[in-house]
């Protein structure tokens, strides 16, 4: 009898002292976790350590670095020359017109101007408007052109499946994100206006000059204020009929093309049709994942330019709309499902921004709450 009693008491003590589930979870996370896996570069499978294959591989290195690479640099340079020689004049002309237009608008507002003159100006204005949309078309073509040169510079073998995106108001395109080259691959077919993180260096320069002209919007992840500004810009952009279709990478960060992380809900709250785009890279020649922690974008591009080819598939999937009674978060999840299935990616529940910040205490609090409830319940049982 006494032994049973002691055992019973020990059992209670044990229940309280037993922290093994929590410890096991922690150790499990140290040994392996799905979040870190999302951002792990995939080293290529070594195949060249073989007497017969090694010389072949060496030849390949020589060809890639001494033949392919210089040719690609040349191609890219020619591309830039063509692009800039067309872009700069157009850009300057448009800026000149902008000034003129502002002047005209001021004149029209002034009541002292003669009626007849006013009419003439109004006519002028209409001409300008027509010009403006023509300029936009030129910009679109030019950006598509330079992106094609970029794709050619890594011999991009890109297969596009499904209907090409149409230019309609009130629709956004969302895609999974592996590298900044996603943007180039998609941009060469359609001049999307993209939402992107502001980058430093030459990429930043391109963003603020060239990409600005196709209506790209950028922000700083760490700035909370930027979030509202971007949300407003987004809403304005999708309403405009003339604007380029909008492209958003709702993961907010580059993932290694084996997983998808949580989709941010911003793109799904606009009340627009959402067109999912799935991008899957074949890493037979090179891993297209840009590990921004380990290498700069320039190094990433060089890596691509010294590889045999970048092979990838792009699927334009069926447009989706918010179902009645569905929240933006559920909608985002549904679109993520569609993309993950098409591109063969595993879904993980993590927010990609955890790369830059610590998880909110909410998750820990949930665990603490269930523990507390359990203990208090045991106390009452007594």
């Amino acid at each position: 009898m006494e032994i049973i009693c002691i055992q019973f008491r020990d059992q209670k003590m044990r229940d309280l002292l037993d922290i093994s589930p929590t410890l096991t979870e922690a150790a499990g996370a140290i040994v392996d976790d799905t979040f870190t896996r999302c951002f792990k570069s995939n080293p290529p499978e070594p195949w060249n350590w073989n007497v017969y294959l090694f010389p072949l591989w060496c030849c390949g290195v020589v060809v890639r670095y001494l033949v392919l690479f210089p040719i690609r640099v040349l191609v890219l340079t020619i591309g830039w020359i063509i692009f800039l020689s067309a872009f700069i004049p157009v850009h300057l002309l448009l800026k000149g017109h902008d000034k003129l237009r502002i002047k005209l608008e001021v004149l029209i507002i002034e009541p002292t101007t003669l009626n007849s003159m006013l009419l003439a100006y109004v006519n002028d204005l209409n001409v300008l408007k027509v010009n403006l949309s023509e300029y936009l078309r030129v910009y679109r073509c030019l950006v598509e052109l330079i992106c094609s040169f970029f794709v050619a510079s890594w011999t991009g073998v890109v297969k596009y499946h499904g209907p090409r995106p149409s230019n309609r108001p009130k629709q956004v395109f969302v895609a999974n994100h592996t590298s900044m080259i996603d943007f180039i691959v998609l941009e060469q077919m359609t001049a999307f206006a993209v939402i992107m993180q502001k980058h430093p260096g030459w990429v930043g320069l391109l963003q603020s000059t060239i990409l600005e002209s196709v209506g790209c919007i950028w922000f700083n992840r760490s700035e909370a204020k930027d979030r509202e500004i971007v949300a407003k810009k987004l809403r304005d952009h999708v309403q405009g009929a003339d604007n380029n279709p909008l492209l958003i990478f709702p993961e907010g960060t580059c993932v290694n093309n084996h997983y998808t992380v949580m989709f941010k809900k911003g793109a799904f709250e606009l009340g627009c049709t959402v067109c999912p785009v799935a991008i899957k890279y074949n890493k037979i020649f090179v891993d297209a994942f840009w590990n921004s922690r380990k290498q700069s974008f320039t190094m990433h591009l060089l890596q691509l330019m010294t590889s045999w080819a970048v092979v990838c598939d792009v699927w334009y999937l069926e447009p989706q709309t918010l179902k009645p009674g569905e929240t933006a978060i559920e909608f985002a999840e549904r679109v993520r499902d569609i993309i993950s299935v098409r591109a063969g990616l595993k879904k993980v529940p993590w927010d990609g921004y955890l790369k830059y910040s610590r998880p909110s205490p909410k998750h820990r609090e949930r665990k603490q709450q269930s523990f507390a409830e359990y203990v208090l319940q045991r106390l009452e049982e007594k």
């Binding site: 003590m13 922290i19 040994v31 870190t36 610590r358 507390a372």
Partner: protein, 175 residues
């Protein structure tokens, strides 16, 4: 870090294996080494607290701060030794020893009423008041024949955990 595994020689492996009392196979140690290198982002030879916390699943663990004190700055050998308690091959004694160490935060070889109270605080956060925690603990202490002033030794822990098997196993992914 594709070649990380090749950096461990057979001697290294054996040394590490000995250090963890052969609780991990050599393959598992190689896997753990790859993981260690991945977490040790700047290749310093140890994993800093900040690097541990960059794993969200670890950072949101209620006991993470307490565990950090134990694992912060460990070199690979000690890292494996720490994890060895979670090996399926580890004995009950080894597992209980680790649990004891988590409670014994000042490492004086005995666990006081307050030590346990602190762990309870980590586990329940703001969802229990200090009074509630004290009430629960003193009740359990009384029932088990201890007072608030008594200290629990490792032997007491082993006695408490003797009644049934501890499920404290982590599988090391081997590819």
């Amino acid at each position: 870090m594709g070649s990380a595994s090749s950096m461990l020689t057979q001697y290294d492996l054996e040394e590490v294996q000995q250090h963890c009392h052969h609780l991990f196979s050599q393959q598992e140690i190689v896997s753990l080494y790859q993981r260690f290198c991945q977490l040790d982002r700047n290749a310093k030879g140890f994993i800093s607290a900040d690097e541990f916390l960059s794993v969200p699943e670890f950072a949101m663990n209620p006991l993470s701060q307490r565990l950090l004190k134990m694992v912060d700055g460990l070199n690979f050998k000690d890292f494996v030794a720490f994890l060895s308690a979670f090996s399926p091959k580890a004995t009950m004694q080894q597992k209980v020893e680790l649990i004891f160490k988590v409670y014994d935060s000042d490492c004086n070889g005995k666990v006081s009423f307050n030590d346990i109270l602190e762990v309870l605080r980590d586990l329940s956060g703001s969802f229990m008041s200090d009074e509630q925690r004290e009430k629960v603990l003193s009740q359990v202490f009384n029932d088990a024949g201890y007072t608030k002033e008594s200290y629990l030794m490792l032997d007491d822990f082993i006695k408490v955990f003797r009644s049934s098997e501890l499920k404290m196993e982590v599988e090391v992914p081997v590819d």
